[in-house]
Symmetry: C2
Subunit: 238 residues, 2 copies
């Protein structure tokens, strides 16, 4: 069935005529806020910078910008990431839109949050500004605007997704041990995990390939090394 119908009973108008009726609605701005997660020293971190608004003096904010009149949401989020980190084609996913009426002191600014995951040790990573800072997520109490809510919402989504898809593998080297993998999951969950349960759950996912290699030059008992199954079809990895 095609979604067609006879609309003889419906008064029709053009989009241009509708815009005149609705002109009072065309006064909003839309921004994108990037929740850029990184992993370092067994901690999940997020990239923040000091707010330059008097209203949020002494507070950090997520990295965001207004969406240009001829820019779509995804292009804006990729642009912000590129401008701030020098990286292209990083894994990103939309979290959701936030639109409380009082969320921005400049006026009505809706924002759309995207989270991304990147390896802090990545060769190409070049922060645009010395004021940018990787802050441990679980130590953040307050941020500018509604960015603490945006961070918490993004973190909840990441925690959920980490058990659904191998998204966290963006934060690991190509070869890794189960110990490294568990440490990463613990950093995301913000709590220790039972070793046996964790290994059972992960091996049931079918995500891992045993490389028949052992870790080298480690201070603990060397563990087996794994790689991600289907890594070649996995979205770009940084």
């Amino acid at each position: 069935m095609n979604a067609e119908l006879k609309t003889q009973t419906l008064p029709m108008k053009t989009a241009a005529a509708e815009k005149k009726i609705h002109k009072d609605y065309f006064h909003a701005a839309v921004s994108v806020d990037c929740v850029i997660f990184g992993y370092e020293d067994r901690k999940l971190k997020v990239l923040v910078m000091p707010s330059d608004l008097e209203e949020f003096k002494n507070l950090f904010s997520l990295l965001g910008d207004l969406v240009g009149p001829h820019e779509d949401l995804q292009s804006a989020s990729q642009r912000i990431l590129k401008e701030r980190t020098g990286l292209d084609g990083v894994y990103m996913e939309q979290v959701q839109a936030f639109g409380d009426t009082d969320r921005h002191p400049s006026g009505r600014v809706f924002t759309v949050a995207y989270y991304s995951l990147l390896n802090i040790k990545h060769d190409g990573l070049q922060l645009s500004n010395p004021l940018l800072k990787w802050m441990p997520v679980y130590e953040i109490k307050q941020l500018a605007f509604d960015h603490k809510l945006i961070l918490d919402t993004s973190l909840a989504k990441l925690r959920h997704m980490s058990m659904e898809t191998p998204v966290l593998f963006h934060l690991l080297p190509e070869k890794f041990s189960l110990r490294e993998l568990q440490e990463l999951y613990e950093a995301i969950q913000g709590q220790e995990l039972d070793r046996r349960n964790f290994r059972k759950k992960i091996s049931n996912k079918g995500w891992l390939v045993d490389l028949k290699e052992m870790e080298k030059d480690v201070s603990h008992r060397p563990g087996k090394l794994y790689r991600l199954q289907f890594a070649e079809t996995f979205p770009q990895k940084h």
Copy 2:
């Protein structure tokens, strides 16, 4: 650690000053589109109405409206649902924002999609307009605007969520049989499911309470009746 810092090296400005610099960005409108799913005759349906724009003559659209200058996203979505269906407090969840530059012929209109689930047989359901129509989701080939993309994205989210949380129980009566439950899941997935696998998966979720009652007045062999575990703490049901 509090997210505070000394910002002596950062030039500060007020939000009012920033708005002047950014005034060219404050020309967008934001709408909410409601993807209202219902279930009837073993089919998943969605509530649509004919578009009243010349540009989309003879096409149906989802139910949406612009977000008022003093309205937040969630209030707007609840308002649209109430206006269109007469129902309050229906389960709703944000899907995501859509912002392609050419998605609306009136100009730059971002939209945020919400999906909701309601029982088409609900006593309180009173459609605002005889042009509103429950259309079977899997029969829709085309909609106005980018609404087919919004519908497909919402459906993908619903399908995913249906295995994660007991969200679909919003579409069932209080007491139901496993046969009814499976028919509902098949309507959502758009395909038949293996009876044994389905029952095993669902019973592993711990969502069901066996009521020790049998179906009555059915044309097939009566099945056991169940209710949702923790139904009392479950969001409002319609």
